[in-house]
């Protein structure tokens, strides 16, 4: 007798593992692993619906196999961290096409379930009636996209625990359904497939348990983040995705490198860099067509006025290539790309790819004068259709000719069903409903994202896919403001669950008039305060949702730029669904909170928006952090020296904290150890630009434990000493009462403290003259010239006088360390950094790219000396009048440097 037994043991520090699942001759038995679960036993029962008119039929798994006259369904199971992955293969034994809906139902033998989540944005109370989700479409959301799709789960919640079935985001599934039958105590989850004669389909579902203490839906979603991290994997070295969106400022206008740098901008949405929608490359044989309306002369391509109607195709492509060569990689120009092939100029689609037209009546089908502003465009489907090859070839050809750093995909939404001729082909992802066969648009989007990621640029780096929407991407965009009560609130939290730990950004107009229709009734002082509140709301929200904002928000609000390095760090660390902390007193009002990273990389964020501080004890629930150690020790973030007293109690780390009004508060885990309850650890930090020293003083019972140490980006891994002796963190360390653990990090970007770097520029600051020389080898000429640009910018912004000196650039391969010189070194295997040496300021790097990064880091330090904060000016959604009224035009709101500055 074959018995497959999956014993899923939880490590001491690990949160609850997946329910135990036993595949046997009589079926599949499921036993909860959560002690708080209010059910003791369940059976996992297969159901099958044969479409389009069949009803769900209960089948029986015998040793993991179910049979019907039409098909064979085999399942296997394996542990995937905190989930159980149930892999299925269904074989069509007939010679006819089958429309199938395989469904797994968890049939409980008891238990009380209070609520049900079908994957959309609402959790429903469980009564007697079945609760079913039989659609994946929701409210039409974006003008030209489609709608939010459900997180593919079916979950029921008891008082303290949840159990759920679900699927993996981005698997090629066009239709999922979820349901809860309270009277029968059945939780159901299903997919739909079209199965060709004699063929098989393979798919996977997941079974999991979670706690509800830190949110019902959040607990479920977190299990997917913990168990399937590959779905949200990010490239930390991608130079474009970890910064603010330029928001057309480097696309419509000639890029101002210094202004963009001061705005932390790294990525640009290069809207419509093609002449004919659908033909992004611009093939000569397709370039002669009748435009729907007359093109206009519009600025794009870095400030060039382009009239597509008056340019030849060859000239257009030549100009585009020249501009992308010049600015593309420097300013993160993402090539806007016909919405992943979801829209195409109508005559091109109708004549060349009629099978690709998507005529889903639930979403817009034809757009007039949209992306190019002169084409009529029709919704297309670039998967399995004639348009697929053309479109994918054009992406490859464009990448080859233009060499963009990546592509910007609009309309990264699902919620539109393609029902054209391609559904007759045996391609993965086909589903069915009462109207016939279809494929969800999201499958095409995810496929095109995969294509882009598989391509490499001339620099050898994979291309970036930036998606306006929630689907697969290297970075996701939400086109709505935090203050947009409509779209933003409607999308949240579901949009955030989909995007998960990936980087995300938000862009919108300022929405001044919408926020303050009655602004004239306020005094200038009242309006100024209202604007300051809105800026703080944006800041607190950005940390809550882990999203970059852009210059529309940061102009005039320097506090939003001040916190940007920490916001970037949080986003890089990865947004998580649960925020496992409680407070004493319970219910301490902290309306803004989030968690980034797991285990020793955890960062907790807390934001108090009230006018007065709130105080209490924060209890961080270590078991929920999904780390390797039992206890994590935290340090409150400042850029100056600080210390935090950690008390370990019942698996929780407790810290006392006062949360000031309208100030983001961050607690970083610095180390993890298996220390006993009652241990008191004072964590203190000495923070300098080039060095961090974290000291942990232990009080309490002796213990022995391996040590887990936080990694700091742009710092070498910590040197560890315990009680003055160098320690190997991998080996168990013996801690005693009074032990002192010291973690020392050295910067990869700086070799000197900030004060030493600032001292180099004292003269320049006082005299407002940059009277020094930048010496660099030929290969670093452009990097040397950045210093000239830096000070030209200050002149342009009137920080320096009109005739003040800018640095002289001297190209030399043998620079001398002398007072008043900035030396750039670019040598293979060079240890990286910037610092003072023999009166000079030097920047070392192993490549021009690394030198650029180090100079950018150095400039951020210089910015503290040469202050320029982009001021309020009339911009998108922020009119001039109220700025004049408040006398804020050309000025900034004051702010506190609540974290201080690095020494």
């Amino acid at each position: 007798m074959k018995r497959l037994f999956l014993a899923l043991l939880a490590a001491a520090a690990l949160p609850l593992a997946a329910a135990e699942l036993e595949i046997g001759p009589e079926g599949i038995a499921v036993t909860p692993q959560d002690p708080a679960a209010n059910w003791k036993k369940a059976a996992l029962v297969p159901y099958m619906t044969l479409g389009p008119e069949g009803k769900p039929m209960a089948l029986a798994f015998r040793n993991g196999q179910a049979e019907t006259p039409e098909l064979t369904w085999r399942v296997t199971a394996k542990k995937r961290h905190a989930l159980t992955e149930i892999s299925s293969e269904i074989e069509n034994k007939t010679q006819k096409e089958l429309w199938i809906e395989p469904e797994l139902r968890l049939v409980f033998d008891g238990g009380t379930f209070l609520r049900f989540w079908d994957g959309f944005n609402v959790v429903k109370e469980a009564g007697a009636a079945p609760l079913l989700r039989r659609t994946t479409k929701s409210k039409f959301e974006k003008n030209v996209g489609a709608s939010m799709m459900p997180f593919p789960v079916s979950a029921v919640f008891g008082k303290k625990s949840a159990v759920f079935l679900g699927g993996a985001l981005f698997d090629p599934i066009s239709f999922s359904a979820s349901g809860f039958y309270p009277e029968a105590r059945q939780l159901a989850f299903s997919f739909r497939f079209v199965l060709a004669p004699g063929k098989s389909v393979a798919f996977r579902m997941f079974l999991g348990e979670s706690g509800t203490r830190y949110g019902e839906r959040e607990g479920v979603v977190q299990k997917f983040y913990d168990s399937l991290p590959e779905l949200w994997a990010t490239d930390q070295e991608n130079p474009y995705i970890w910064g603010a969106y330029t928001h057309y400022q480097s696309w419509w206008a000639k890029p101002d490198a210094e202004l963009l740098r001061r705005r932390y901008a790294t990525i640009e949405w290069c809207y419509c860099p093609y002449r004919r929608s659908g033909d992004i490359y611009g093939y000569d044989e397709l370039s002669d067509y009748k435009m729907f309306s007359k093109p206009r002369n519009v600025p794009k391509l870095g400030g060039v006025m382009v009239d597509a109607g008056k340019m030849t195709n060859a000239d257009y492509r030549k100009l585009r290539k020249e501009r992308f060569d010049r600015f593309g990689r420097k300013f993160g120009w993402m090539f806007y790309n016909s919405c992943c092939g979801l829209w195409c100029e109508i005559t091109l689609a109708q004549k060349r790819f009629p099978d690709s037209i998507n005529d889903d009546p639930d979403v817009p089908r034809i757009l007039t004068t949209w992306s190019t502003a002169y084409d009529k465009e029709i919704r297309t489907f670039p998967y399995g259709t004639g348009y697929q090859k053309f479109y994918e070839d054009s992406v490859r050809d464009t990448a080859k000719e233009v060499d963009p750093p990546g592509f910007a995909f609009d309309c990264g939404y699902g919620g539109a069903f393609y029902r054209g001729p391609a559904v007759g082909k045996d391609i993965p992802g086909r589903a069915w409903d009462e109207k016939g066969k279809f494929i969800e648009q999201a499958l095409a989007v995810n496929r095109q994202v995969d294509l882009v990621r598989s391509l490499k640029g001339r620099d050898g780096r994979p291309l970036t896919a930036w998606v306006n929407g929630y689907l697969k991407a290297d970075r996701n965009e939400l086109e709505a403001g935090f203050r947009n009560h409509g779209r933003f609130m409607r999308n949240m939290p579901l949009w955030r669950y989909w995007v998960g730990p990936k980087p995300a950004s938000i862009s919108s107009h300022f929405m001044f008039t919408l926020l303050f229709p009655d602004w004239r009734t306020k005094t200038p002082e009242e309006l100024t305060e209202a604007l300051a509140k809105v800026a703080d709301y944006t800041m607190l929200s950005a940390f809550k949702y882990g999203m970059f904002y852009d210059f529309v928000q940061t102009n005039g609000n320097p506090v939003l730029l001040y916190v940007m390095p920490e916001l970037e760090e949080c986003i890089r660390t990865g947004w998580q669904a649960t925020v496992p902390l409680t407070t004493v007193p319970a219910g301490l009002r902290i309306p803004f909170r989030s968690r980034y990273g797991r285990g020793v990389q955890t960062i907790f964020y807390l934001g108090n928006s009230a006018p007065k501080p709130v105080s209490g004890t924060l209890r961080f629930d270590n078991a929920q952090l999904d780390g390797k150690r039992a206890v994590y020790l935290f340090l409150r973030h400042l850029r100056e020296d600080s210390s935090t007293v950690n008390k370990v109690e019942q698996g929780e780390t407790c810290v006392d904290a006062e949360l000031p009004s309208r100030t983001p508060v961050l607690f970083r885990a610095v180390a993890g150890v298996d220390c006993p309850a009652g241990t008191l650890v004072t964590v203190s930090a000495q923070r300098q630009l080039h060095k961090r020293v974290i000291t942990l003083d232990f009080k309490g019972k002796a213990f022995t434990s391996p040590l887990e140490v936080r990694e700091l980006r742009a710092f070498r891994p910590a040197e560890v000493t315990l009680d003055g002796k160098k320690a190997d963190p991998k080996a168990p360390l013996a801690f005693r009462d009074g032990s002192r653990l010291v973690l020392t990090y050295k910067s990869l970007e700086f070799r000197s403290p900030a004060s030493a770097i600032a001292s180099f520029f004292v003269g320049a600051k006082v005299r407002k003259q940059a009277e020094f020389t930048v010496c660099a080898p030929e290969e670093a000429r452009s990097q040397a010239e950045r210093f000239v640009t830096y000070f030209e910018f200050l002149k342009d912004k009137k920080v320096f006088g009109k005739n003040s000196a800018v640095p002289q650039v001297v190209i030399t391969s043998k620079p001398k360390f002398e007072k008043g010189k900035i030396l750039l070194f670019c040598r293979e295997k060079q240890v990286s950094g910037a610092g003072r040496q023999s009166g000079a300021l030097a920047v070392w790097a192993a490549s021009p790219e690394a030198l650029d990064r180090n100079i950018t880091a150095l400039f951020r330090v210089m910015d503290k000396t040469f202050v320029y904060d982009p001021p309020f000016v009339q911009t998108m959604g922020l009119p001039r009048e109220p700025l004049l009224y408040t006398k804020l035009y050309g000025k900034c709101l004051p702010y506190r440097k609540f974290w201080g500055e690095y020494k």
Binding site: T368, T513, P517, D518
Partner: protein, 370 residues
Amino acid sequence: MKRAFFAALLCAAAQVLTAAPEAKETTLSGQKAVVLSNACLRATVVPGTMGALAGLRWLPGESELFGPYQYTRETINELLPDKQTVTVRGNRTLFWNGTVLFHQPLGKCEIRRAKDAVSVAMTGRFIGGFPVVLTRVLTLKEGASAIGIAVTVSNFGKEPQEIRLWEHLVADPEGSVPDVSLIAGPGVRRLGRYQDTEKHKGGNLVVDTFRDGNLSRHIVPGADWIAATGGKSRLTVFLRAKKEDLAEDGFFYTWKSETAKMHTAEILLRRITLEPGGNRTFELELGVLSGLAVLRRLQGDHGFDFKRSGGTLTWRVSVLRPVPARKCLVSAGTWQKEFTLPALRPGECAGGRITGAPDLEDDAFAFQVE
């Protein structure tokens, strides 16, 4: 031979329609409101939300025309202005090129009482984000099933202001999903914000929400009104503007979102530029007719529906004010027939048949009341 017959009168409506109009203050969904009423209509106006005509009750049939009104105010966070939501149903004045804020107040409110009419005049500043004063005056006269809407816009800014007045109407008579009817002019019809356009020859257009889904339309006007008709009593709520205010680039607008559940019936008046210190008054009318399947012609106080089958033209008429018997000329191409309309009051309707009608499309038929 001319044959006509008069259909049974809707006697439920045949009550005394001469009660003097009244105006009184009240509250609606927690907001200050003013009720204007006569024997035909009870109109509830909320100055705090753009002076919206938020409630409208057809008294002869005790029927609601706008459904329930709800205003909510929610504090999202102390750092943000409160979130205010207002029911989309009803009628209000907006600016097409301004910020659309259903909750902006026309805070200064005055009730005016005359011998045969009552009015509420409401004024607000900086409406839609423009440096303008907007005054909206709603007037209900004795015995009328129509409300006069006078909107005055004054530019007190230092710059000329280009504005386009947007008279918004969402009606659901007796809880129905109504058909929206209008007469389109010849020209380009734009479907949706980014969507398709099509050339339209003009004529009667009926938008059926079930058939047309979420489609939105911008339509060149072929007449001066747009209407919504629905409910078991087939009540019609229409908006009528002055022809000159619809000239040039004025248009009708009807759209539906998933949340709206039904198509709107809206009028966009032509764009004008108000010089600093300048002002302009626009006059419109919102009226209610009963007993018509669809409003196809609106001529003075008479609203007609008609259908031609073979050579027989079947017509039906309803009125906005008590009217005596009148001569009416129906024409199509070179064909004409004169017949007599009976004396009618709001809530009553009459109908008849005329033979010998030519084989022309319905759009060719016109009714001219003496």
